[in-house]
Amino acid sequence: MIRRVGLLTLLLVGIAWASHAFLLRQAADWLDVSDPHLPADYLVVLPGSNETRTFAGVVILREGLAKQVAIIRNPNTSAVNEGLALPTHEVTRRIFQCRGIADERITFLDGESRTTHEDIRLLQSIWDRQPEATIIVVTNRFHTRRAMWAAKSIHPNRMQQISFIGCPADGFEWTRWWTSQVGWQMIASEYLKLGYYMVFYSTTSQRLGMGLLALCIVLGIALTFRYRLRRRKRLLAEAS
């Protein structure tokens, strides 16, 4: 028995080691759900990484793949209040201007947001003005699944009008993310954040689905244990 478990563990460890690059690449790819429907009426750049997302947004606007950009405001940080940094939305606006986007195409969304969930909630103000508007959301590749998860739970009836495109992040190579600290920081922490979102920001049907899945897994484990325990008892009884 022990030998069998040991061999199986060794085999699993060997397979995992041999295919770790493939598995880790798949783990990152799973986070990227980019599927842009272009052209769109509005471009929304999710705050969080002005150095990448905004420049990707510039390309979409410049190529005429979106008519307007709607910028999301964030509450001021301590550094902004002290004058050490500019507000994020102001930096976003300035980047668009400096990269040649006309002022008429730049608008701000109503309200402020601190999280991805709140960012996606603010999109409603676009549909309040223009119910048929289509939106392309730009964020980093690893962040698209969480953004889409938030969109599905907040605007389930608008999913035909919203699409996501992920842009590359700085500091690590997507196909070799595990070789860099930044990669670990981004990809591994994104999984934890996604888990948080799945627990706290889900719709009833999403929760039911996850609950059922969890129940199946627990039941499967419990039944396996029960079966093995009974078998062991039977074997012991037979032996004695």
Binding site: E51, A56, V59, I165, P168, G171, A188
Partner: protein, 242 residues
Amino acid sequence: MLKRRKWTFLILAVLAFCLATHSLVLSWITRPFIHRVPLDTSRVTHLLMRDGDRLLETTLSELRPGRKLLLVRESPSRSEQCGAVPSEDQLLPELLSTRGVGPDQLEWLPGTLEDGESVLRPLEDWLNAHPNVVLCVFVEALGSGPLRRRIDRRYAVANARRVIIYPLEPEDYRSDRWWRSRSGCKDFFGQLVQVIVRWSDEESEIANPYPTPQAYEDAFKERLKSFDVSVKSESPTLEVSL
């Protein structure tokens, strides 16, 4: 029946125990993250601003005559390169001069930090070149413990002793009770991830070069093409605002 009741009681007892002791357990986990020792800043000759709430305010309150502010030059970000935001090299001295800090009170760390590079390496060289300075580093409270340990591990004892870590308490929560607020949880989680990912390597290496604004946009164009989005190949032109 009796067995089931026993299990229920056991689960309830475990839950009650967790509820009763969670504060104690989390405090114990938090302890290595916060560097809490009585601060003796009387010997300090230089101050280094890194991050944290009330950073400028605290630095200015500690910037007494005879002390200097050590500034770090970092390579320009993409938004700086395209002129969207002023570079920190300009912004900080200007801001400090409006708060009464003269240029004679500023000292620059030699060289320029590349993106993702830790300041610890050039700082060590600087400390070696200036054997009489005592440096005070301002850092957010939850990051103070890991920074202290990194310095102690990396620097020679004499150099490590000359670096004082000044933890800055967050404005919206108590760092030793971070679990009571959402931003506290977020900050602690961020620090935890950093500690975990640093276990293998002290310095953050640059995995790929940071492209310029134009190079980044060109790379993104290629990505758009991979989704069968047609993009123009000519160089960008400025739009004229009406």
